[in-house]
Amino acid sequence: MSGGEARAVGVGSALTAPAPRPAEEASRLPTSEERELRLRVDRSSRRPVLVAFGCSLVALLLGSVFGLTASVQMHSPELAGPGWLTFGRVRTAHLNAMVYGWASLAMLGVSLWMIPRLVHQELKWARLAEFGVWIWALALGYQLVRILGGIPSGMEWLEIGLYTGDTFLTVGGGMVGVALLRTLLARAVPHLYVSVWYIMAALIWFPIIFITGNWPAWAGAESAAVNWFYAHNALGLWLTAINVGAAYYLIPKVLGRPVYSYQLSLVGFWTLGFFYSLNGMHHVIGGPMPTWMITTSITASVLMVIPVAAVAINHHMTVVGRFAALRYSPTLRFVVLGAMAYTAVSLQGIFTALREVNRITHFTQWTVGHAHVGVYAFATLILFGSIYYILPRVLRREWPSARLISWHFWLVLLGIALYVTALTVAGVFQGLYLMDPAVPFRASVDVTLAGLQARSVAAVMLTAGHVVFAWHVWRLWRRPTPERELAPFHALRPVVREAGS
């Protein structure tokens, strides 16, 4: 590991970037060698990364169609289909396709690419990882069929069948985790960068919570507690951890400067793990659950201010003064917006966990809006940004079209903005009406209709954005590797202004 020292060199106060370069630190790897290393590392993870991204895109398209269908059916129930197309099943297929198909598989892809890069080592046991991704993807595909066929397990976020699905996801994910751990142990750098903590911790946390959630021993109120212990941590310790980790890599990488305060990232990481993991019971506020459990979760939810502030300061202050970069880098555009959404969704979550607020917003469309700020505006946007950065590097060719990236960006950005606004407003009214026993129940249904219809418009926009994205990836994939071709969006000029307006 002696060479590692030299590679990890680079100092200076993290607060001022670019860091000054002291004389004795002139021993960074020559640029050509760094480049060799990067190429070698990227090549080693190529196959599993491509499989993961490819499968995740299929799930994204499927999930979009399910989501759109469920959305339309909700305000127009006369469009109900046969059993396998009934709202309850399509909605469930949507959630599972998006969370376990799209987001999780894309996150596995990001992890498989990023960890080797960050430890300056080729991906070890790449075959095993690739095989694991396949197992995960195929098992999930089968589960989607089962859900539409009407065999879900009955708990939200845990609908996948125990023996036919959960087992395979655990094993498949485990294979990826083992390959990455093996790579980590063979690292050629003395340090573990903050993204490595987040990603590796997520890979440790996920199987633990997933097995706990699916363990067939729970009954009654306890199964509700375990349900929300799992489902909340699936967001906090899985989706959040890996995407925050990805942002911690991509923002400094694109801007060419270290994160604002590295010390803070340490605080942010450990407090996130500690507080987020205790949040689950704020999903049953007022419900049939021992109060101390709920109070514990509300307290932990409020304490989430600490990690959220730490991550927010780091992500945003690194960009401050350089926002113009968003016009040059599609990756940064998605990632920075995703990071902003992370701050927003966390603050909204803390707010919603307060009893006074929760008694109104619980059980309303507000929650659905909130979930989409998290899984979409935060996680999905960061994943889009990551894929824009990673895919050309593993495929060794450039994105064909700046225009398609702009279309994708604006469609999903406006789509999610409309989505969240519509459901949040609808949810507040729904909640206020439900809270007032003098208001008939009907009013709480009627008041959401406009929001639900607007949500369908948003769903069309998001789906269209995903089709554009998938089409662009397809074109990138089919593209011959050029000798040296200039990227259309990269000609050292802002791209959003022209193609986007």
């Binding site: 469930t92 573990l192 946390w205 109120a221």
Partner: protein, 221 residues
């Protein structure tokens, strides 16, 4: 951080702690919750109906819990005579407490809507009975049979507004079981607990007035 073990160990400590607090310790408490005398286990038919409920995703629009009446209006709205408590759910595997109230709470729907015929029509076409409903119709839980082929055991549902020359609507065993299940939903029996036991278990809100409140059933003498 420099060492892998620090990361792995720290991650395990963090999750282990949360696991103890939210899964381990509650388990030791909640497994000891016993069914109140007023609560019957589900019959075979009701259990089948419960499966139909799960299979068709009713949980995504209906809750099955009455929240604390100290800060919600669930009781005032008539969804229950008292907030539900863990003991109400001992036979529920898995729980169906739900997260969304697009439709009304159903944990006491058996009291509100005892008529099986109403449910059958409602499932076939919610708008036939509740004109503003956005609940999806569940026609696939019914068979359409020509009048002359109706067997003696078939449960024919008189759907309002169907012409005489149309095939008749026959309920499948699945939907009959579902109705059976819904009609069994009733958590209004008093909780036979000594005064204050629920508070001790931390089920009630702290600082609640201690006077006897038989609506909540929590401080029954």
């Amino acid at each position: 951080m420099k060492q892998t073990w620090l990361l792995v160990g720290g991650a395990l400590v963090v999750i282990g702690f949360a696991w103890m607090v939210l899964v381990g310790i509650p388990h030791t408490m909640l497994v000891r919750v016993e069914a109140p005398p007023g609560l019957e286990p589900y019959t075979e038919s009701q259990a089948r109906g419960r499966t139909v409920y799960i299979r068709n995703g009713c949980i995504y629009c209906h809750t099955q819990q009455v929240r604390d009446d100290a800060f919600t209006s669930d009781v005032a709205r008539g969804w229950g005579r008292r907030p539900t408590v863990p003991a109400d759910y001992v036979y529920d595997r898995p729980h169906l407490m739900g997260t969304m109230r697009t439709g009304p709470d159903l944990i006491n729907v058996g009291i509100r809507l005892p008529d099986p015929e109403w449910h059958l029509i409602h499932f076939y076409d919610p708008r036939a009975v509740v004109e503003w409903s956005i609940m999806p119709p569940y026609r696939f839980l019914f068979d359409e049979v020509p009048e002359e082929e109706v067997g003696p055991d078939d449960r024919v549902v008189a759907i309002p507004g169907r012409g005489p020359d149309e095939p008749v609507v026959v309920a499948t065993p699945d939907v009959l079981a579902l109705v059976d299940y819904l009609r069994s939903l009733n958590r209004s029996y008093p909780l036979a607990q000594p005064a204050g036991a629920a508070e001790d278990a931390g089920i009630a809100e702290p600082g609640e007035p201690a006077e006897v409140d038989d609506r909540s059933g929590r401080t029954m003498p």
